[in-house]
């Protein structure tokens, strides 16, 4: 039962058919993040007007689906909207399953609500989002201060 909360159809779908995967040029900022405990890796590239976000990585279904959802949610939005989405996602992930996600803001990312109940997997879901934030900063765009990751 618990597993169904983690492996939502939406997550498995993004994992098997990722959106926007593959590194593309041109870009203004790039960040490579790793999860040293499990070896998952992701590289995210950001164009400063967010007309494209590209990524490539190695990892589990949760981290890879999370990257796909991030791409889908964020491409074409402005910095203020992105900051709101980013903050909502981090809050959801750190909510230990107690936070009700707002589908208006988070779209497919609401499917990750179940992941928050698995502390060992929260880092997987956050990996692309933290890499994105770094890449955006390197592109000269501040997407808001999100709380420190305490997974």
């Amino acid at each position: 039962m618990m597993l169904d909360a983690l492996y939502q159809e939406i997550i498995l779908d993004h994992y098997k058919h990722p959106h926007g995967r593959g590194l593309r040029d041109p870009f203004d900022g790039e960040a490579h993040h790793v999860n040293p405990t499990c070896g998952d890796e992701i590289t995210v590239r950001v164009v400063s007007d967010f007309s494209d976000i590209s990524y490539d990585g190695l990892g589990c279904s949760i981290s890879q689906a999370s990257a796909s959802v991030l791409h889908e949610l964020i491409v074409g939005k402005d910095a203020a909207e992105i900051a709101q989405i980013h903050e909502a996602f981090v809050e959801l992930m750190q909510g230990r399953g107690q936070v009700s996600p707002d589908e208006e803001v988070l779209g497919d990312a609401v499917a990750f609500a179940g992941v928050a109940k698995f502390p060992a997997r929260v880092k997987c879901a956050l990996l692309p989002w933290m890499a994105f934030k770094d890449a955006a900063a390197r592109a000269g765009v501040d997407v808001g201060v999100s709380p420190e990751v305490k997974a």
Binding site: G39, D40, G59, S61
Partner: protein
């Protein structure tokens, strides 16, 4: 006497619990073993009845604690057939033991540019990083053995790799990923020929098979208590006494001195020289009890049981679609550690779904990233067995893998 797994399991209270509504199938003994009541009781009895600091008290409790601590040292010495208990240095784990040798032996050998240290691609990070650090400090060069496609040490370049410039050879005795048992006799002989010293990382060997340091013909071995039924926080370095006696201290502090003045210090003889500060006393007592438990069962019998379970598991996994075992495919010359990839499914996801069935396996790079890279995978799922593992637990693993296919199919 037959090896009675049911009776052994009765000694391990944790094996009776459930996980996520299923009977626990603990297949992660390579990470840490479970502890029998005999060990848990020994630690509790020590703390309840004999607790005091060691090696510095004239009072009764201090004497009892010292006797227990030194008694554990003697048991460990006998267990691996060391020449004397003074060749047993208690550390906090294998990692500390290897760092101790890298630091103190590195000093003693006065390593510098032109000297070479040889390790292998099969090592745990704990037998890579200390040597990399030593090379950075001294300018020595790090070299390594590769791994064959079958998961064995590639000794084809032995005479070139271990040469007159080689000062230390540090190798894993049993791989924590591939399960390979390395017969190091040829390498040790070559090292002796060129005057190099040999250290074995025996973390996955001493808990699982008979280890006789005099037969091995090496200079140091490192292993850890928590993988052999004992508590965490107690590890062992065995070294040939004449070498230990020449090596400078690793950590400085109480208990490792002969005399201290404000102008300088002289050091105690080994093993005290390498045991600065209050050691893990109750943990050492627990290790002594673990050694008693293993000795009573017989290490040859423990190894045989794991061989039987491994043969069963290798056969069962060969029949699971999409599963590829990395490492030797037959039980000969391998231990009870079986790592595998599942087509199209990341090990994290495999581990998560197995956990939902009560099956506890390790996933990830197993602190051996170069080994994973050698086999072209970022991570693996690993099932590792011990003296309490049953074929039913292997069956639960196989059923769990069917479930993995259902979720990700």
């Amino acid at each position: 006497m037959t090896f009675d797994v049911a009776r052994i399991r009765a000694d391990f209270p944790i094996l009776g619990r459930e996980v996520n509504g299923h009977p626990l199938a603990y297949l992660d003994s390579g990470a840490t073993s479970q502890k029998p009541v005999q060990v848990l009781d020994a630690v509790r009895a020590h703390n309840e009845r004999h607790n005091a600091n060691v090696s510095r008290s004239v009072h009764t409790l201090g004497t009892e604690a010292t006797t227990a601590y030194e008694g554990a040292r003697a048991k460990v010495a006998a267990f691996i057939n060391a020449g004397t208990p003074d060749e047993i240095v208690f550390t906090k784990n294998s990692t500390e033991a290897i760092n101790l040798v890298a630091y103190s032996l590195g000093q003693h050998l006065k390593l510098g540019p032109g000297d070479e240290i040889v390790i292998s691609e099969m090592e745990h990070h704990s037998n890579i990083v200390p040597w990399q650090l030593l090379c950075e400090r001294t300018g020595a060069t790090l070299r390594w053995f590769g791994i064959t496609d079958e998961g064995r040490l590639d000794e084809s370049a032995l005479d070139e790799l271990v040469n007159e410039r080689t000062r230390v050879v540090a190798l894993v005795q049993v791989s924590n990923v591939l399960g390979t048992i390395n017969d190091v006799s040829r390498i040790a002989a070559r090292a002796r020929q060129v005057g190099a010293l040999v250290l074995l990382d025996s973390s996955q060997a001493v808990p699982h098979l008979p280890v006789d340091v005099r037969e091995l013909g090496v200079d140091f071995i490192a292993f850890t208590g928590h993988k052999m039924l004992a508590p965490t926080g107690i590890g062992v370095l065995w070294g040939r006494f004449e070498l230990l006696a020449k090596m400078p201290p690793f950590l400085g502090g109480g208990s490792m001195i002969e005399t201290v003045t404000m102008g300088g210090t002289t050091y105690a003889a080994p093993p005290a020289r390498f045991e600065a500060g209050t050691p893990p006393i109750a943990e050492a007592v627990g290790l002594g009890a673990a050694v008693d438990y293993l000795t009573a069962l017989g290490m040859a019998e423990v190894h045989q049981h794991e061989q039987d379970i491994t043969a069963y598991a290798l056969k069962a996994l060969a029949d699971v679609p999409g599963v590829r075992v990395v490492g030797p495919l037959t039980p000969e010359g391998r231990g009870g550690t079986v790592s595998f990839a599942v087509d199209g499914v990341h090990p994290h996801d495999v581990g998560q779904i197995l956990d939902a069935q009560g099956v506890q396996v390790r996933v990830g790079h197993h602190c051996a990233k170069p080994t994973c890279v050698r086999f072209g995978v970022p991570a693996l799922t690993r099932a590792s067995f011990y003296l309490y593992t049953t074929t039913e637990e292997v069956d639960a693993l196989v059923r769990g893998l069917d479930q993995v296919r259902k979720v990700f199919g």
